[in-house]
């Protein structure tokens, strides 16, 4: 049995926060099920704005965003939440909920009138916590966890939505290298084993080139290059996107080259 192939597609996307200052200029973007896509680019290149448009949080001024062929603006909030989930850059909860309740909040769009968890909801939450290795902190609050553990909880919460598309905003920006690796491996596994379309905005070109199936390189609201890492990780393209001289240092065997900025 094969799962239906979910696709998130943006066509000729345009967006401006202030008139005549476009942040996105005709961006085309595709994220397919089973693929791990990283969006790269300098600060202010429009990565996060693109992500917010894909989430349905910002309404693009031009172009369309289709999820399985249907415009996301035409989905209700709840219907969209069953297809698409989001992991923020900084995990935080104003209210001191234990981790199990935080993960169960991911069931909001599935649960009944009071949002109380049924057997099905508990089973899904359990699976999400197993996947992210967060079962052991079930009774603790976010404040009592390390940054890496807290980020895993936020991923578990997103997985509890049972989305076909998972969007992450620089999830490793404040994590140590061990946790960075852990999160990137997790994102790769979610794409390959859980058949999700995983989209991650990233600042780490090396990790992105190593784990992602697709890279999207942005500059000034436009896509400079996109495709598999082999096609995008080129000295000229990276130099154009980041405005620095870039050198690729070969690694032994099949490993992708290391990217070194001068």
């Amino acid at each position: 049995m094969t799962a239906p192939q979910h696709v998130l597609q943006a066509r000729a996307l345009g967006f401006e926060y202030r008139p005549a200052q476009p942040v996105l200029r005709g961006v085309d973007f595709t994220a397919a099920a089973g693929r791990f896509t990283c969006i790269l680019g300098r600060n202010g290149s429009g990565k996060t704005t693109l992500l917010r448009c894909l989430l349905g949080w910002l309404r693009p001024g031009a172009g369309t965003i289709l999820l399985d062929g249907k415009d996301i603006a035409r989905h209700s909030r709840k219907a969209l939440a069953r297809l698409l989930a989001y992991v923020p850059q900084f995990p935080a909860s104003t209210f001191a909920f234990p981790v199990r309740e935080l993960v169960l909040m991911g069931r909001f769009a599935h649960a009944g009138a009071l949002g109380l968890a049924g057997e099905q909801d508990l089973a899904v939450a359990r699976l999400a916590m197993e996947m992210t290795h967060t079962e052991e902190f079930a009774d603790r609050t976010l404040d009592e966890l390390s940054g890496g553990e807290a980020q895993c909880v936020m991923i578990a919460r997103a997985l509890a939505q049972q989305p076909s598309v998972l969007l992450l905003d620089e999830p490793t920006s404040h994590l140590d290298i061990a946790n960075q690796l852990k999160i990137y491996r997790m994102m790769q596994r979610l794409a390959h084993d859980w058949e999700m379309a995983v989209v991650c905005v990233s600042h780490d070109v090396n990790l992105a080139a190593r784990f992602a199936d697709e890279l999207v390189l942005m500059r000034d609201g436009e896509v400079v290059a996109s495709g598999p890492p082999g096609d995008v990780v080129r000295e000229d393209l990276l130099a154009r996107a980041y405005d620095v001289r870039v050198e690729l240092i070969a690694r032994p065997g099949d490993e992708p080259p290391m990217i070194w900025a001068h």
Binding site: R77, A81, A85, Y86, F97, E101, G115, E135, R157
Partner: protein, 339 residues
């Protein structure tokens, strides 16, 4: 067969626990109602059915007002992610007060008003307008700074106070004297059954809506973006909550005037005891709020009887307790920020 992972999810809120909590607290509330109705300077032997019935009505009013204010405070704290939010501090109560006073003044100026334009309707209008004003001042592109929100509440409160004083200047003194006591937050014996029923129905309906939004308030604590992508209609939730809070506050203010700080103290203490889940908090805050105001009013009545000073307005007592409580909360938050 025992599944070790399932233990991690034990303790999750269920409908059974919610109903059980509600039932136990409801019994406690009825017990408090009964006990308070028997307390007084008159000895039990001399307590006539008429006095007892009068006390019961007044306590029921206290219960409805307490439940309304505590639930409204709980919802505002959840919606605004701010433990200092409550109808009195944000000026919503004084907005309802302006509405009621305006109704009295108009009756004084032009004789009897049409029935639909009576005190309660004007209270609701005043509360809703104030809600909109405070939110409009404090928000920028849909984002709220918690301190700007409190400040705009303070300003709107001062403005509403000035409006009330201006109205005082233009009405006959006897209209004002009754209003002065009411404006402190005062429960009286003479509330008509129709008024009590209408206000009670409004409070019950509002409470049901806010209980149903509990899960959304919980999720909102994760930030607007996460809440929205989890399926919470964030903007609509704000509008709806402000409307419901206005309705409940207007009902409370119509019955008892602007009683302060109940919406601050009760949800806060409840949160410390039963945790942050807004569904449980809706049930617990409402009933604890009812008990709190019944006890506070009984205290005021008995002290008034003992001192032979007539009734002390219950709002004076809640403000005397609530002021220091608010300052303690604010200091605690500032300390947290500096860390």
């Amino acid at each position: 067969m025992s599944d070790p992972a399932s233990d991690n999810l034990r303790g999750t809120l269920s409908a059974k626990k919610l109903v059980l909590t509600g039932a136990v607290l409801l019994l406690a509330t009825v017990a408090v109602l009964g006990a308070c109705s028997l307390v007084g300077v008159i000895s039990l032997g001399d307590l006539t059915p008429l006095v007892w019935k009068t006390r019961l009505v007044r306590l029921t009013v206290a219960g409805v007002v307490g439940a309304a204010l505590a639930t409204a405070g709980m919802a505002l704290q959840g919606l605004l992610r701010n433990p200092l939010a409550e109808p009195y501090i944000l000026g919503i109560s004084s907005g309802a007060g302006v509405g009621v006073l305006f109704g009295l003044a108009m009756a004084d100026w032009w004789g009897a008003l049409p029935k639909w334009l009576s005190g309660p309707t004007l209270a609701l209008a005043g509360a809703a307008v104030t809600c909109g004003a405070v939110y409009g001042i404090a928000q920028r592109r849909g984002r709220l700074d918690p301190y700007v929100l409190l400040l705009s509440g303070v300003i709107v409160n001062a403005f509403n106070g000035a409006v009330m004083l201006s109205i005082y200047l233009f009405v006959k003194p006897y209209v004002v004297s009754g209003f002065m006591v009411w404006a402190m937050g005062n429960l009286t014996d003479n509330v008509s059954a129709g008024m009590l029923l209408t206000a009670g129905a409004c409070v019950l309906a509002g409470w049901a809506v806010l209980l149903a939004r509990g899960a959304a308030f919980n999720t909102l604590g994760l930030g607007d973006e996460v809440a929205a992508t989890s399926g919470v209609p964030v903007h609509w939730l704000r509008v709806e909550t402000f409307l419901v809070v206005s309705l409940m506050t207007a009902a409370a203010v119509t019955l008892a005037g602007p009683v302060g700080f109940v919406g601050l103290i009760v949800p806060h203490v409840c949160r410390l005891v039963v945790g942050p889940d807004h569904r449980r908090l809706a049930v617990v805050s409402a009933l604890v709020g009812a008990m709190f105001l019944m006890i506070a009013d009984t205290l005021c009545r008995v002290v008034g009887e003992l001192l032979n000073a007539g009734d002390l307005p219950v709002g004076v007592l809640t403000a005397l307790c609530g002021g220091p409580f608010f300052i303690a909360l604010l200091r605690g938050r500032l300390k947290e920020h500096r860390r």
